[in-house]
Symmetry: D2
Subunit: 134 residues, 4 copies
């Protein structure tokens, strides 16, 4: 499946005293990429939680930092599904400065599907196409 | 009722590119002061939510910034109840640097009690003494 | 001077276990409103810091919470300058849900101008029109 | 070199609407573990930045999530140096609930040393013993 791009602008709140985006905030960027990816694939993550009681619990996350983003810079987050089954999904992310295309960071998050009881569950059939599962 | 003191140490994550604690993080300090105040008064805010379904929804917050706190400095948060009824409670906070007593900020938060339906409710009788209500 | 409107979408990261936006995050919304207000008035807050060494230090902030915003909701932040002199500026903010116009919160921040030495300074003449100062 | 343990208590601010600690906040836990590790080894990260102009820029971070931590739970963060040279250092972290020892998460961060010019530099000799470098 193809990737999806979304943009965010770095907030002052997200910088630290080194004058750059604090390292944990790139995981928040990834969340934004993930949520917007879902919308572009035709469903809202919010509804999946509310209506179907399916939660995407993070099992693993990693980030490689290439170049520091700074306050008020715009970041383009490219997101795609690297792997998916009815049990779990792996998202990948590439973050670049909008101004010059410079790579800021790349990352990956692995999620398992949980039901309302916070135990692992199978992804309902209706969501399979959204994650490219046959 | 008397006040309660608790201490936190400024995290790198809480600084911004000005080299000081970002302004919204003082509201998180106040949360820590509030939670520890409750413990010192004999109950856990966590249990009030879980066991009795009573939530403290913030209706108003304000903060006056006197002097910037910096990374790795220890802050002493003094917390007290300024006013309370069965409908609402007002907390006040004074934050000082542990090293030299310099005042960093003062603040106030006003909360209303909500039930599990997220509608205003009366504080259960058993909690009245904790907030100094007769 | 007229107000400026900007929009943000609530992130999962900004919610808390009550299922709504955590109270300190509205101060981050205000920052976004403030930064975009400045751009709409013809200057970048980033450049004011970098090129002219003028910083907007927060002296006071307050927020009144009317209705809880939730994950993935869009918030319209209306920002305006309530008062300004060569020493300080007061911004006001009104935050509403984009979907139905419901008021979420209102707030105010008071700032003093600081120089690179982190001491109070006068706003350089060239910025006066941006804040509506004659 | 041996590991160091430090403790933090989960803040309401750190939870999300799933009722557990939001995933990026474990990277903040790691920061706290790292800073306290340095103190236990005889130096303050703050002084290394201020006095010697040496910064620890994050090159890579990852986290494996085992069990969700919740509001007001105490987490024990065990931190150690997995590898170090005059160019870079790798920290590892293990986070457990204080109450029952249950493993919450494990993580790793890789850092390169930067000088005041934000370019890679060699760790000054005086810090070598602190990182176990001969």
């Amino acid at each position: 499946m193809s990737s999806h791009e979304t943009r965010i602008r770095v907030r002052y709140a997200e910088t630290d005293q080194m004058g750059v985006v604090y390292y944990s905030n790139y995981l928040v960027c990834m969340e934004v990429g993930r949520v917007e990816y879902c919308k572009a694939r035709g469903f809202r993550y919010r509804d999946m939680e509310l209506e179907d009681g399916v939660f995407l619990a993070v099992a693993e996350a990693n980030c490689r930092y290439s170049y520091p983003a700074r306050f008020d810079e715009e970041i383009i987050i490219r997101t795609w599904v690297e792997a998916a089954s009815t049990r779990m999904v792996v998202f990948r992310y590439e973050m670049r400065l909008a101004e010059n295309g410079r790579k800021v960071a790349t990352g990956e998050t692995k999620h398992v599907f949980l039901g309302r009881d916070m135990k692992p569950c199978r992804l309902p059939d209706k969501y399979k196409p959204n994650f490219g599962i046959r």
